[in-house]
């Protein structure tokens, strides 16, 4: 395996330092979004359980669903890394030019930046998990351990690469169209909803679950989260990571093709 080039370490180091220098943003984005999510899901599921009078929904207890509803958005944020503007802003304002001049691969540079963001959001995820486990305790039946956390985080890292290529393809539509904000919002919604970022995928209708098994979305949030919660064995983890690698390869090749076509269109015009 080829070692990471020194520029990649430097880019990651500088980006992590930059991210951590925005202390307010780090805590506000983490505490506020997690707190709101937790409160909303708590009252939502409370209403559902009170209204139906059931002890479980789709095999999940009230505590398990509240826990899931807090952890899933943290996983979604971690997988996404940087929220928006992976490359579309630079295409729009012409600042992509500088990356075309440097003797380094553009995708490698952007993936390194993305990895730095994933590192920061993963730290937020672990803090959120620790805070929840220490204050509310884990739901009954959960077997989260050091091993499952390692499997979950490694699956998350793989899923973040898949998400990177997915969003990169859509962001590169900016080579042809000026406003692609709606496309990115759509991607955000689709990956979050179909990835299990809102409710567990087992609550979806059976036919939809079967159809989604053929799509990359369940690997983005649901799979790493299930690994993290100790619901996936080593064999399941290996199959899932293999599927993520295959999807990443497909989307990576598409992204490369779009990049080559897109740079033919690039005019470098902007602000």
């Amino acid at each position: 395996m080829t070692a990471l080039p020194t520029w990649a370490w430097r880019v990651a180091d500088l980006e992590v330092r930059r991210l951590f220098s925005y202390r307010v943003d780090f805590w506000v984005s983490f505490v506020v979004s997690t707190g709101v999510q937790l409160l909303a899901s708590y009252f939502l599921w409370l209403a559902v359980f009170e209204h139906t009078g059931r002890d479980t929904v789709g095999g999940y207890s009230f505590q398990a669903l509240v826990y899931y509803s807090m952890m899933a958005p943290l996983f979604t944020r971690a997988v996404r890394g940087k929220e928006f503007g992976l490359i579309s802003d630079e295409i729009y304002d012409g600042s992509l030019s500088r990356f075309l001049l440097y003797p380094i691969p553009m995708f490698g540079y952007k993936l390194t930046l993305h990895a730095a963001h994933v590192g920061m959001t993963s730290l937020q995820l672990l803090l959120g998990f620790a805070a929840y486990a220490l204050t509310a305790g884990l739901p009954a039946g959960h077997t989260t351990s050091a091993g499952s956390i390692a499997l979950g985080l490694s699956a998350l890292l793989a899923a973040s690469v898949l998400h990177f290529f997915l969003s990169l393809i859509l962001e590169m539509v900016a080579f042809w169209a000026e406003g692609i904000w709606s496309l990115l919002v759509m991607l955000r919604f689709v990956t979050s909803f179909l990835g299990g970022g809102h409710i567990p995928l087992t609550l979806f209708p059976e036919q939809m679950q079967q159809a989604m098994a053929w799509l990359p979305f369940p690997y983005l949030v649901s799979f790493p989260l299930l690994c993290f919660q100790g619901e996936m064995g080593l064999a399941d983890w290996a199959i899932g990571v293999g599927a993520i690698a295959a999807w990443s390869l497909i989307f990576g090749l598409i992204a490369l093709r779009v990049w080559r076509k897109g740079t033919l269109q690039f005019t470098g015009v902007g602000m």
Partner: protein, 332 residues
């Protein structure tokens, strides 16, 4: 070093009618026009040469520079820079060139300049000792040693531009493209940048292509200029050739002394024939006439006789006027 043959670039540009109705209509039907930014450019630049690309806004200067730096693809034509086709963007090519865009920040906004340079050292795989030596020499030449730990966004425009120049030259490129390197700078900073570029040229002998709207940049840095008008090359040659080929006039300047008693009214009425001379400035201290080249001696003689001349000099017409005339096809 740079060989360009028949290079052309056309863009498709979206045209929107003004107003609300125009915006609404553009949702369903769009009007596109073909804009020819550069037409059939031929250009050759050797090592150590600084060529000035001159033209009005939209003449195709930046488009040409972007193509030669490999950022955009041409519609037709070929270019060879250091043995490479620029838009193939091979790493070997990108290691040997630099592009400085005065209107666009290329450094990392949130990072101190020192960190940006360290990153560039890694990007260009520069040996540590060589990097330190080059950085030390460039920062000393531009006088910015004290600002290396300041975030780029906190630097003044002049300091930022100097940092951009250092960033562009850290890897000692053999070909340098400078797109308006002094834009927005005050006179002192402009002079410092020009002085630095001349020193850098003398010590490293790179081929440079410079675009600028400031005639001082062109006059002081470039021995040769290429004038573009609406994407077409209309002149390529030494600056002096513009005067030889296109200047039909000279400027005769008389600095005035004290007029002899009783002669004030006479010299105040003094005029040269409008058929071959025109006054460009007339004050109590100085009179300037733009005169047909063939009538310079006669003009000087008449001025010496008709005015209280303390000093008389003859100068070539301002180069910027000649270039402007070429750019706009203004009759000479």
């Amino acid at each position: 070093m740079i060989h360009v043959e028949h290079l052309s670039k056309s863009f498709r540009v979206f045209q929107k009618d003004p107003g609300f109705r125009g915006s609404l209509r553009s949702l369903f039907k769009r009007k596109w026009i073909e804009k020819h930014a550069l037409k059939d450019l031929n250009l050759h630049v050797g090592p150590g040469e600084i060529v000035g690309l001159v033209g009005a806004n939209g003449a195709g200067k930046t488009t040409a520079v972007k193509m030669l730096a490999g950022i955009i693809h041409p519609t037709s034509g070929t270019a060879n820079v250091l043995g490479h086709t620029p838009w193939q963007r091979k790493n070997a090519f990108r290691r040997e060139i630099a592009l400085l865009m005065g209107q666009k920040a290329q450094l990392w906004w949130d990072l101190p300049a020192g960190d940006c340079f360290e990153l560039l050292r890694d990007i260009y795989s520069l040996p540590e000792a060589e990097f330190r030596k080059t950085l030390g020499s460039l920062t000393a030449m531009l006088g910015v040693e004290g600002q290396l730990r300041t975030q780029i966004r906190r630097l003044s425009l002049g300091e930022r531009m100097k940092m951009e120049i250092i960033a562009a030259l850290l890897h000692q490129p053999k070909v340098v493209f400078l797109d308006e390197p002094t834009i927005g700078l005050d006179l002192t900073a402009q002079r410092a940048v020009r002085k630095f570029l001349l020193e850098y040229r003398a010590s490293h002998r790179p081929a440079m292509i410079l675009t600028s709207h400031y005639m001082e940049d062109i006059e002081q840095l470039c021995e040769r200029i290429v004038i573009l008008r609406e994407g077409e090359k209309v002149f390529d040659g030494p600056l002096a050739d513009i005067q030889r080929a296109h200047s039909v006039r000279k400027v005769v300047i008389a600095r005035l002394g004290e007029p002899a008693a009783g002669s004030e009214a006479a010299w105040e009425r003094f005029e040269l024939p409008a058929a071959w001379a025109s006054a460009v400035r007339r004050t109590a201290e100085e009179v300037r006439y733009s005169v047909d080249r063939g009538r310079v001696a006669e003009a000087a003689s008449r001025m010496l006789q008709g005015m209280p001349v303390a000093d008389l000099s003859i100068e070539e017409e301002d180069i910027s006027n000649l270039i402007e005339a070429l750019l706009h096809r203004r009759p000479q």
